[in-house]
């Protein structure tokens, strides 16, 4: 659509995004000049988005400090303008931005803190589901076990982190000394989920991470047990898998047991 209104909105938007372009000549100057009036909008645009980032990335802000976070946030605002109707989604690309942009990519823990905090945001308002219980599991007839599948709670977020983002987040949350960034030898699996209205997170051993990912793809109990023999002795594997399931049921992570 190419109309004067379309052109005007394009110019206004260009000014807000780049502080550049011909917009000022479209605006009346009186007690305040056009540039000042446009500046009110340009300031408000960035402040509103910065506030959204401050809300969603509390730990990242604590690690960077207010001024550095502000500068980083402004660079992100310029690199990833919002495309979603809701400001709720604005921080979605922050982790990616930090991983690919100088100078932040030289400190990889930053992108991982952002990824961890965003996973919390997604767990917070993910779809609701009733959860299965340990009693439901106990009621399963022994003959039905091999073909069982498990539906996981929709709030479950599975991420891999090579740095100590979760302990850093925890220190910020508890207002204790923030640990130095630390890199693990290999990426560690984490799961985050919501139970009632609280967000939980836990690291996963290699076999746990593998099993959880299998359940997510709809694998049966017997398929899971077979694969777990990579790490677990065959004669203990069923008990091991059932033990993990019991723990995840108690965690409120399993929504359905499907026959």
């Amino acid at each position: 659509m190419d109309t004067t209104l379309n052109k005007l909105q394009g110019d206004f938007q260009r000014y807000l995004l780049t502080l550049d372009g011909p917009m000022a000549k479209e605006v009346v100057s009186d007690a305040l000049d056009a540039q000042t009036r446009l500046g009110i909008y340009a300031d408000a645009y960035r402040l509103r988005l910065l506030e959204a980032l401050q809300t969603d990335f509390v730990a990242l802000r604590a690690v960077l400090g207010d001024d550095e976070f502000d500068a980083m946030g402004r660079a992100y605002i310029d690199a990833y303008p919002s495309q979603h109707y809701s400001i709720r989604h604005f921080g979605r690309n922050l982790s990616r931005f930090l991983a690919e942009t100088d100078p932040y990519r030289a400190t990889p823990v930053l992108a991982e803190i952002a990824r961890f905090e965003w996973a919390m945001t997604d767990a917070f308002d993910a779809q609701d589901a009733t959860v299965a219980t340990v009693a439901d599991m106990a009621a399963v007839a022994p003959g039905a076990w091999p073909s069982l599948r498990f539906g996981l709670h929709p709030s479950l977020q599975r991420i891999e982190l090579q740095w100590n983002a979760p302990p850093i987040w925890k220190a910020v949350d508890e207002n204790t000394d923030i640990p130095e960034p630390q890199q693990a030898e290999y990426p560690i699996g984490w799961m985050l989920w919501r139970n009632e209205f609280k967000i939980y997170f836990r690291s996963l051993s290699v076999d746990q991470a593998w099993m959880l990912d299998q359940l997510l793809t709809g694998a049966t109990f017997s398929e899971v047990c077979e694969g777990l023999t990579e790490w677990i002795d065959a004669q203990h594997v069923a008990a091991h898998a059932a033990g993990l399931l019991k723990q995840w049921l108690e965690d409120g992570l399993i929504a359905t047991i499907d026959y």
Binding site: F12, V28, Y41, Y45, L47, R48, I87, R88, D125, Q127
Partner: protein, 315 residues
Amino acid sequence: MAAASSLTHPPLGFGLGLRTDHYESILAGPRRVDWFEIISENYMVPGGKPLHFLDRVRAEYPLVMHGVSLSIGSTDPLNRDYLRDLKILAERVQPAWISDHLCWGGVAGKNLHDLLPLPYNRETLEHVAERVQQVQDFLGRRLLLENVSSYLTYKRSEMSEWEFLREVSERADCLILLDVNNIYVSSVNHGFNPIDYLEGIPAARVQQFHLAGHRNLETHIIDTHDEPIVDPVWNLYREAVRRFGPVSTMIERDDNIPPYEELLTELDHARAIAREVLSPDAKAREGRNGCSIAAPSKAGARRGASVAAARLPSE
């Protein structure tokens, strides 16, 4: 009871914006407000705490839905995903009505998350009226459009904001959410008489009032919703009630959110003003004396800045 000819829904009384900080107080205490307004986008999420409390509050109170993302004046196509999600939320909430702003919020697929003013001319008028009709057809109900606070005037504007709002509402057959604070803020920022604004608005279409606080920066006023309502806005509210009658009224507080009790007290002030204006005695007095409030000129606003000269968080 609405007359058959009335465009508007029956008034709901005095309400507040539903805010996360107040969920527990609202559900714990006795009923102290008549209704709540929600920001639609805050509840356009799959689940969790927001929707849980939404349902609980809805079980006890009438709700209205107030959106910030419709971008009715944008030259981008209407956002179908947004409209779909809005309709899904409306089915859940069964709101008394749905409102959004007379503004635009971005073009070329971008969202600036602001309520940007429109140039008030024929081209915009046709564009907006046509889109309001599309939205109303999709939602199956009349939409309320709210006047926004603004900080600039376009050279391409050919009419006042109130003329534009009146024309849009009549052409599109929509309703009006009159934000009394926004009228005041814009009257200072642009130097018009807020009474002229009220007089230009078609009374039959006014469904709701907003009240809010702002920050007076002396050279201009920023609409921040983070302070109590100031006296000039209360005075303008008095004039609005005098003209438009017992219109559903609510206070918007979006930042620096005080305890629930404090907002209830502020809301009581609105009730008292409306009661006083609408009492038979007041009508008699008005008949003798008429009424007027000073038009806040730029200079007046500078002198009369009763709000502490506030800064935005950072410049």
